[in-house]
């Protein structure tokens, strides 16, 4: 069937990926069937794109579910949500053009998964620390005028001191977990998180990584907590 809305691309895998697609459907209300598009040494997992595609919860979940399941079967390059090719012919040409690049990335990811770690600071604790330990805050607290200008000045100093502490904790998390990963990247800023980092971890190393995360969370005490999600498809390690 000619896909009038284009071809939705989920992932690119090597030709030897098993591509077991049973139980999976595409994005959109009706959930078009998935299929493999063989383009020489690489394969794209695709479906017809639905009309009026938007970033709905249902479709984001579908996208993620397809990638999560396929990445358990073998290395894959996860596409960002919403990548639609005009048609299969042009996609095929693009895949063949970029095959070497894609195969090189796939080789990097073989046997590895992404673990996402978020550092969620406890502002109560950090504000208190700023008030008791930060020299600038302490001085301003005693001397600054109670009017709006003065309070903005004080608040800015507190915000700076809190931020400094958050960053120190973030660096600690990175330094502690980096030895367990072959690559590390800081992800997009997320509100409420002092750190949002992706770690590319060998599957063989996952237990040790998770154990270290758990211990680090305990070590951070009431200053912050860690939230670790994974294994997930290596979204953060497929630089375009």
């Amino acid at each position: 069937m000619a896909a009038e809305n284009g071809t939705y691309v989920f992932a690119i895998v090597g030709a030897n990926h098993p591509c077991r697609l049973a139980g999976l459907t595409g994005v959109g209300e009706s959930g078009a069937p998935l299929r493999r598009l063989d383009a020489g040494s690489v394969v794209a997992i695709v479906s017809d794109a639905p009309p009026g595609l938007r970033a709905k919860r249902r479709d984001l979940l579908t996208h993620h579910r397809v990638l999560a399941q396929l990445s358990e079967q073998g290395p894959l390059l996860p596409m960002r949500f919403g990548v639609v090719a005009p048609n299969e012919k042009e996609l095929d040409a693009e895949l063949r053009r970029e095959a070497d690049h894609h195969l090189a990335m796939l080789a990097q990811l073989a046997g590895r998964v992404e673990m996402n770690v978020k550092l969620l600071p406890n502002e109560d604790v950090l504000v208190r620390e700023a008030a008791t330990e930060d020299a600038a805050v302490q001085e301003l607290r005693g001397t600054v005028s109670p009017d709006r200008e003065g309070q903005i000045q004080l608040g800015e100093a507190v915000a700076g001191a809190v931020k400094q502490r958050e960053r120190a904790d973030a660096e600690r998390v990175l330094a502690t977990l980096q030895p367990f990963a072959s690559q590390t990247v800081e992800g997009p800023d997320v509100t409420g998180c002092a750190l949002n980092a992706g770690f590319l971890v060998d599957r063989d190393n996952l237990a040790k990584f998770a154990e270290r995360v758990t211990r680090l969370d305990a070590e951070l005490g009431d200053r912050a907590s860690l939230k670790c999600t994974g294994p997930i498809p290596a979204y953060s390690f497929v630089a375009t």
């Binding site: 938007r54 709905k56 919860r57 996860p78 406890n122 109560d124 504000v127 903005i152 004080l154």
Partner: protein, 144 residues
Amino acid sequence: MTVSTQQRSIDRAPRSSSLYDVLELILDKGLVIDIYVRVSLVGIELITIDARIVIASVDTYLRFAEAVNRLDLTQSKDSKTLPEMVGSITEGGAGRKAKGALEGAAEAVSDAFTKGRGEEGEKKEKVRASRPTHTRRAREEEEG
């Protein structure tokens, strides 16, 4: 802390809370075949903008100042001292770490999700003012 890792069986669908935890990666990371990104998804733009609201503002500074001014440094660390800061925290119970406030943007993302669920309405959701109302964890429990 949550480690939703190891034990997850291979074929089990990700839970909604884990979707929330990787939302920014699905929307912002991942491979793009640039010449083929034809669909400009209104929803995506809105959500990513929401998630990136920078909250360092005068209002924030004023809240911090108020929080510090109200601190009684003779109190023990465990006591609740910053009711304004944490907003209407709904989580409780022993052993839970209270999360910081200022998560309005996170809620806006969550709202966009909720509203987008199942209906075809094309209305743009307005970016909410960044007033803390729920913590991240509380929101997840509602969704979970």
